[in-house]
């Protein structure tokens, strides 16, 4: 047969030389050790360099060893595997570092005093003071933003899923997607342009409006997903009983999907709670306690972090406060996330079926 050339290129046996199962671990350990050795010998100070050397050694070492023992194709396969693992480790390192540093430095000044006092009488460079005013500001601004953004978002989603057909629905769907990508600072500039026209001074509610704009598309998308999970049979069963459509939506569709909708809103709240840029432009920041979101500058947690970092000329006390505020903010966001996921999981089986 003319395929003799083909068969010649293949191994005559099924048995291919292969490396033992522990090889990747051994190569990893070896490259880490070698990486540390080389770095220490060369006197490199940065851990980033140590890690890079070890990672490069790992990938190259895998290829070299596998190519020699198993052949080129297997070596490529192993390199792909090792690169994927390295990528995973590389992605986890910043997260671990960030969480670790925030906790380690944040707990230094985080106590009840810190949570219950403002910066009113404390200069930014001095120790002392707290984030009470920022927490108040954040809660009010985010609360008002949610009160505006969540209902509009949910109603829009209902329109898209329950009524939406034709060009209007298509346009809304497209612009909701585009709106998701608006940079937060642009939303801030939009409200700012209105304030310039009406010659207004910074106040909390202006920030809420910008945050609400950022929140709406997120709520629309997640609510849409949840409403689509509600089986059509349920709607038809209710409609067939002569229940008007709007009551069907209110009494059947929404209660069925309320868990998922809540989850989506909470995730959106978690996201806007960390926004700094619009607050910086519209609410301006204020070291004193201002309980009125409708008049006068306010503080907010993310803005507080930024201003402690930026306005304190490298003062250690200010950095400590910034980390402690970061820890508070992350804790808030993470708790919202966890609770939201909890609700989603708890409600999922009922709506999923």
């Amino acid at each position: 047969m003319s395929t003799a050339a083909v068969t010649d290129k293949r191994p005559s046996t099924l048995r291919a030389a292969s490396l033992p199962k522990w090889t990747p671990w051994a190569i990893a350990a070896g490259s880490v050790a070698l990486g540390i050795g080389i770095s220490a010998a060369a006197g490199l100070s940065s851990k980033i360099q140590w890690g890079l050397i070890a990672a490069v050694l790992f990938v190259l070492g895998t290829y070299g060893i596998a190519a020699r023992v198993e052949g080129r194709r297997q070596a490529k396969d192993r390199v792909a595997t090792s690169f994927v693992w390295v990528a995973f480790v590389v992605a986890v390192i910043p997260l671990v570092s960030l969480i670790w540093v925030t906790i380690a430095r944040g707990v230094k000044v985080l106590d009840v005093y810190f949570l219950t006092h403002s910066m009113g009488v404390v200069a930014d460079t001095e120790p002392g003071g707290g984030i009470y005013h920022a927490i108040i500001g954040s809660l009010e601004q985010v609360g008002l933003a949610t009160a505006i953004g969540a209902p509009i978002g949910v109603l829009t989603a209902i329109y898209l899923v329950e009524y939406g057909r034709g060009r209007l629905a298509k346009a809304v769907t497209f612009f909701v997607d585009v709106m998701t990508g608006i940079p937060s600072i642009v939303a801030g500039l939009f409200i700012l342009s209105l304030m310039l026209i009406f010659e207004m001074q910074p106040f909390g509610f202006a920030g809420s409006l910008a945050l609400a704009i950022l929140m709406m598309p997120v709520v629309v998308r997640s609510t849409e997903e949840m409403l689509k999970l509600v089986p059509n049979e349920l709607r038809e069963a209710s409609l067939a009983l002569g229940v008007p459509k709007w009551r069907t939506i209110l009494k059947v569709v929404l209660p069925t999907s309320i868990g998922g909708i809540t989850t989506g809103i909470m995730l959106a709240v978690a996201r806007i709670a960390g926004e700094t840029a619009p607050v910086l432009l519209l609410v301006f920041g204020n070291p004193f306690i201002n309980n009125n979101p409708f008049e006068g500058a306010q503080a907010s947690l993310p803005l507080y972090i930024y201003q402690q970092f930026a306005n304190s000329a490298g003062s250690g006390a200010a950095y400590d406060r910034a980390w402690a505020a970061s820890l508070t903010l992350i804790a808030f966001v993470m708790i919202l996330n966890l609770v939201a996921r909890g609700i989603a999981r708890w409600k999922a089986p009922k709506t999923g079926r």
Binding site: M1, V6, K9, R10, L14, R15, S18
Partner: protein, 258 residues
């Protein structure tokens, strides 16, 4: 070229569920062996153990021996990748690579296995497409995507792709169940030609098809739903369809269940 398969005491699991139990049989080279049996009897699972595709399914696990000319596919140090190069497979639904041209689809396996000169590749692709009775239909559009062909043509393209790497054995998992009668006939004719060069194992739901194309037929059955599938008997196709030695086989073939 074609090789003999000797299976002894083969049991396959999905996680903790035993899908097939204690199967032993011999498949002769240069012949067509058909697997028949009711749904869920494990004939497809068994087929997939013959080229180690079963273990690709999460939780898939195999015990026992499958000898390919005296070499155990499940022996220590055997590379599943080289097993699949020796034992080709055609699936239920035609699955050409959607982003590749007809030519690239056929050449895909070759390109994995080594460096071929362009002329060498052209020859093998042409020969494989001719072998799959597809050459005349596609020779003018080799650079067009394979997904533009009809279902039957796609399936023959997949057969061409499988035979291009010159496997020893060709496994076919209900290759005609998604095709119309005319395409089915074309594939059946093709199987008749291919058995000159390959050992062919075909799973089919269609008993007439088994009777038409196969030299030997194996009947699989399961005692009850949830129970593992077993090999009831394997014999010459003529015998199975005229005078089987087990009552259950006769019941199934005469349409009393299944």
């Amino acid at each position: 070229m074609a090789k003999r398969i000797d299976v002894s005491g083969l049991t396959a699991y999905y996680g903790s569920h035993k899908a097939i139990e204690d199967i032993s049989m011999t498949v002769e080279p240069r012949s067509v062996t058909a697997f028949i049996g009711p749904s869920g009897c494990g004939k497809s699972t068994f087929l997939r153990t013959l080229n180690r595709m079963h273990e690709v399914t999460p939780g898939g696990r195999v015990e026992g021996k499958v000898l390919l000319d005296d070499e155990d596919l499940y022996g220590a140090g055997v590379d599943p990748v080289s097993v699949r190069r020796e034992v080709g497979m055609v699936f239920q639904r035609p699955n050409p690579f959607p982003t590749m041209s007809i030519f690239d689809n056929v050449a895909a396996g070759l390109r994995l296995n080594g460096n071929y000169r362009k002329s060498e590749l052209n020859d093998i692709v042409e020969k494989s497409l001719k072998g799959a009775n597809l050459w005349n239909e596609v020779k003018d559009r080799l650079s067009k995507p394979g997904s533009g062909l009809s279902g039957g043509q796609q399936q023959r393209l997949c057969i061409a792709r499988a035979i291009a790497v010159e496997p020893k054995v060709l496994l076919m998992d209900e290759p005609c169940s998604a095709l119309d009668p005319i395409s089915t006939l074309a594939i059946e004719d093709l199987i008749g030609e291919l058995k000159e060069r390959f050992t062919i194992v075909i799973v089919t739901h269609n008993m007439q098809q088994a009777a038409r194309v196969s030299d030997r037929t194996a009947f699989f059955n399961l005692a009850a739903v949830g129970q593992p599938g077993r090999l009831i008997e394997i014999d010459d196709t003529e015998r199975i369809f005229s005078n089987p030695s087990v009552q259950a086989t006769e019941d199934y073939i005469s349409g009393r269940f299944g």
